[in-house]
């Protein structure tokens, strides 16, 4: 165990140097491809906001089901199936048909190709809709995979919109990730006030232009209270133009009265639609509806054919800016709600770094002093191995560009305390063997050999616990699992190779002397 070939020694220290050299870039400003990596500081250390958003897809499910109504009725008529008692609720489209038509209905309902009602989802090998027939009644509902498909599409689309909105706000290095089936994790380093971001993300920003009318029409009307004048208006449900046709929106001051307004530009299709509608309805009022709120309802004075328009509505410049931002970045498919929020101010982060560093240094010194007092020259070996352990730990964290959190620092300190265990196990074993064996070399040899199994067993158990913590932990706690796990691995390396080699050097140079550990 104590014999090291030259190649072995060289490779041990090369590995050590190679790994630990990466830790340097955290302390000095170094250039070059090798040193462009750094340990990331977690939000709890650098300050910032962690927001977990949930996509509420239940309204989408209802909408989706509703969108099936007209094509379904049409298809039923085309197929000459008589239906009765047609109704839609949150979960079902319900109607009754004659028993003889059931086969026919099932045939077109479960047709795989060109089925524009019940779409076949190849990804899941399943249909979007299912039906059950109870007596004469048919209940059509979204299948499990249909809901899943709808949800994941909504989440993907929401992530895209969230990213656009956050980019527009101009936050540094935001991280936006999908979490589970219906959540989005947003991390915003350095942000002090997440309130504005939350406000902006909380709005779906569904914009529609619709005519103000008292005439009953085929789409129906609904009533709104105008936000600017508190006037009650009746608005047609027919949508002339929606936010989807917008290509740009900017805040501006109105030339006439110096009030903040939002100027928008439309795409080609939007311009055509808007031009037609405004030409036909000069003198009427057009309502601008955002997220079920009527912002304003100006009178159409001229036909607007150039594809540009303005929205006014008692804005402050800030609200006009936010509205323009929301319109530019597009509408969310469904509202997002913040289900978890953690914000740390930059000064608390700095305090935490300071406290973490001080307790690391103190803990480290305490352990080093203790080991030196207890084991004398072998204590120094243990300490050298501890230092190399820490350098490698930092090196690996840097290589992986891992995120260091406050609990992560605690993990490093704990590693300091527990890493010497390997050395202690070895030294204590050697001490025992020295009492039994004649030669120093033999005692050291056996001591290492016998303790290594124990060291492996002991460290693997802790490693198992910290890997499980890594899988299940969230946020800063995950950082603890990262440093502890890597720390255990570097501990094994430094104990098995570095302290063993350093010990062998001492032992070979002092073959005759009695060792007192």
């Amino acid at each position: 165990m104590l014999n090291f070939s030259k190649t072995k020694i060289i490779s041990i220290y090369l590995i050590f140097l190679f790994i630990s050299i990466f830790s340097l870039s955290n302390f000095f400003e170094l250039d070059g491809i090798f040193f462009n990596k750094k340990v990331n500081l977690g939000l709890d250390l650098r300050g910032g906001s962690y927001l977990l958003l949930e996509v509420d897809s239940s309204s989408l499910e209802k909408k989706r089901l509703q969108s099936k109504v007209i094509p379904l009725k049409k298809k039923l008529r085309e197929s000459k199936i008589e239906f009765d008692n047609f109704s839609v609720n949150e979960k079902f489209i319900q109607f009754s048909i004659k028993n003889k038509d059931l086969k026919n209905f099932e045939k077109f309902f479960n047709e795989k190709n060109n089925n524009n009602i019940n779409i076949f989802l190849a990804k899941f090998n399943s249909f979007e809709l299912e039906f059950e027939s109870i007596d004469k009644q048919i209940n059509v509902f979204l299948s499990r995979h249909g809901i899943l498909n709808l949800r994941s599409a909504a989440v993907d689309q929401s992530i895209e919109i969230v990213r656009r909105r956050i980019d527009e706000i101009g936050t540094k290095e935001p991280s936006i990730l999908k979490r589970g089936s219906n959540r989005i994790l947003v991390e915003l380093p350095g942000i002090k006030n997440p309130e504005r971001v939350k406000e902006l993300l909380g709005k779906t920003a569904e914009l529609t232009f619709r005519l103000v009318t008292d005439d009953p029409n085929e789409f129906g009307n609904e009533n709104f209270i105008l936000k600017d004048t508190q006037e009650e208006i009746s608005v047609s449900k027919r949508i002339i133009l929606s936010g989807g046709n917008l290509v740009d929106a900017q805040p501006k001051y109105d030339n006439r009265n110096n009030e903040p307004i939002v100027v928008f530009a439309l795409d080609r299709l939007g311009s055509q639609k808007f031009g037609k509608a405004t030409t036909k309805n000069i003198g009427k009022r057009i309502a601008i509806i955002l997220d079920n709120e009527a912002i304003s309802a100006p009178v159409i004075r001229d036909s607007i054919t150039g594809g540009n328009g303005t929205i006014s509505g008692n804005f402050s410049f800030q609200t006009a800016t936010d509205l323009a931002l929301l319109l530019r970045s597009g509408a969310l498919p469904t509202p997002l709600s913040v289900v978890e929020e953690r914000t740390v101010g930059p000064d608390l982060g700095k305090d935490s770094i300071k406290a973490g560093t001080i307790s690391l240094i103190v803990g480290f010194l305490l352990v080093i002093i203790f080991m030196t007092l207890k084991y004398k020259s072998f204590g120094i070996i243990a300490n050298l191995s501890l230092i190399s352990n820490l350098l490698m730990l930092l090196g690996i964290l840097t290589l992986l560009e891992a995120t260091l959190t406050l609990p992560g620092i605690a993990g490093v300190i704990l590693t300091v305390g527990m890493a010497v265990d390997a050395n202690v196990l070895i030294f204590e074993r050697i001490k025992e063997e020295l009492g039994k064996e004649n030669s120093n070399i033999q005692a050291f040899d056996l001591g290492f050999k016998r303790s290594i199994v124990t060291i492996l067993d002991a460290n693997i158990t802790t490693l198992i616990a910290s890997v499980i913590l890594f899988i299940f932990g969230s946020g800063p706690v995950k950082g603890f699992a990262v440093t502890l796990s890597i720390g255990l691995i570097t501990t094994l390396f430094s104990a098995y190779f570095i302290s063993r080699h350093l010990t062998s050097v001492i032992v070979f140079n002092n073959k005759e002397k009695k060792f007192l550990i």
């Binding site: 913040v338 929020e341 101010g345 935490s352 300190i413 265990d421 158990t461």
Partner: protein, 302 residues
């Protein structure tokens, strides 16, 4: 030159086991009847850490500045330095997106001074329930994994012994948290998992020695072997616990308010874990009739 201590541990097993049993029972009673002081991570709610000028604002002012908004059960306490306060409440109307903004503005207006909001955490009821479940699942899985590892590396009797020791450590640590009404949050779960790892680590070292001695002194009784093994590994057990405690005490004293609960849980866990590997895990081998035969089968197979 070599000095192996020779304390009579086995002779004290009866007393120690009775007191362990007593402590575990008391802990269980505390956990079930007094309950645990769950933080917002597991209960849901809002936490605000703020800093004000302690010369102008006192704790009563902080409390009254929150009182005009109905936030339910409000908990205000000093947090670390003077002028630092931690405010916790279980908010019911979680849907209000501007709640925190409203609260912040309200507090600033009422206190009429600059308020530094150092930390704001808000956990919804759904997420907190999930965090609690995943925490419990993680601990259960960790225990299962340990059981399996020891069963593979040793014999089933050793698995039983080490798992009972871990249960002992975790229950007493949590029981103490219940007794002292200390907050249980995500970092405590991390601490408990680390305690599980540490306690296991400590037990494995003694078990390794017991197994080695069982094959070396095959005719000796398990009591003798256990006693010798504990004594032989005693100085390692103590030194490692000491260095780990040194590191933890450093976190506890200097690591700041946020890490304090974690460090305390770990300190308690390390002390109990060290105790249990000697006084809980080892006697169980005797109760399960472990002898040379138990490990002999395994060695033939190897």
């Amino acid at each position: 030159m070599k000095h192996v201590p020779n304390y009579n541990f086995v002779g004290n097993f009866k007393i120690s086991n009775l007191s362990s049993l007593f402590l575990v029972l008391v802990s269980l009673i505390l956990i079930f009847f007094k309950g645990l002081n769950f933080g917002i991570d597991f209960k849901g709610g809002t936490l605000i850490e703020l800093r004000v000028d302690s010369k102008i604002v006192g704790i009563a002012d902080i409390r009254s500045s929150f009182s005009n908004i109905n936030l339910g059960d409000l908990n205000v306490k000093q947090f670390g330095k003077e002028g630092d306060y931690l405010i916790k409440f279980e908010k019911k109307n979680f849907d209000d997106k501007n709640n925190i903004k409203t609260i912040k503005e309200n507090v600033k207006n009422k206190l009429q001074t600059d308020v530094n909001f150092r930390r704001v955490e808000n956990v919804g009821p759904k997420v907190s329930a999930e965090l609690l479940n995943s925490g419990l699942l993680a601990i259960t899985l960790a225990l299962g994994a340990m059981l399996f590892y020891i069963w593979v590396r040793f014999e089933w009797q050793f698995s039983v012994g080490s798992i009972l020791a871990i249960f002992h450590d975790v229950l007493i640590t949590i029981g103490l948290f219940s007794f002292l009404s200390l907050e249980i949050n995500l970092s405590i779960v991390a601490a408990v998992l680390t305690i599980v790892g540490y306690s296991m680590n400590d037990t494995v070292v003694i078990y390794d020695r017991i197994r080695e001695n069982l094959s070396k002194f095959s005719s000796s009784k398990i009591e003798e072997i256990t006693n010798t093994s504990i004594n032989e590994t005693l100085s390692r057990t103590i030194i490692t616990s000491l260095t780990t405690l040194l590191a933890l005490i450093s976190i506890f004293v200097l690591g700041g308010e946020i890490l304090r609960g974690f460090a305390l849980a770990m300190i308690i866990g390390v002390i109990i874990g060290t105790y249990s590997s000697i006084f809980v895990a080892s006697p169980i081998l005797k109760y399960l009739n472990v002898s040379y035969k138990t490990i002999a089968k395994d060695q033939e197979n190897n």
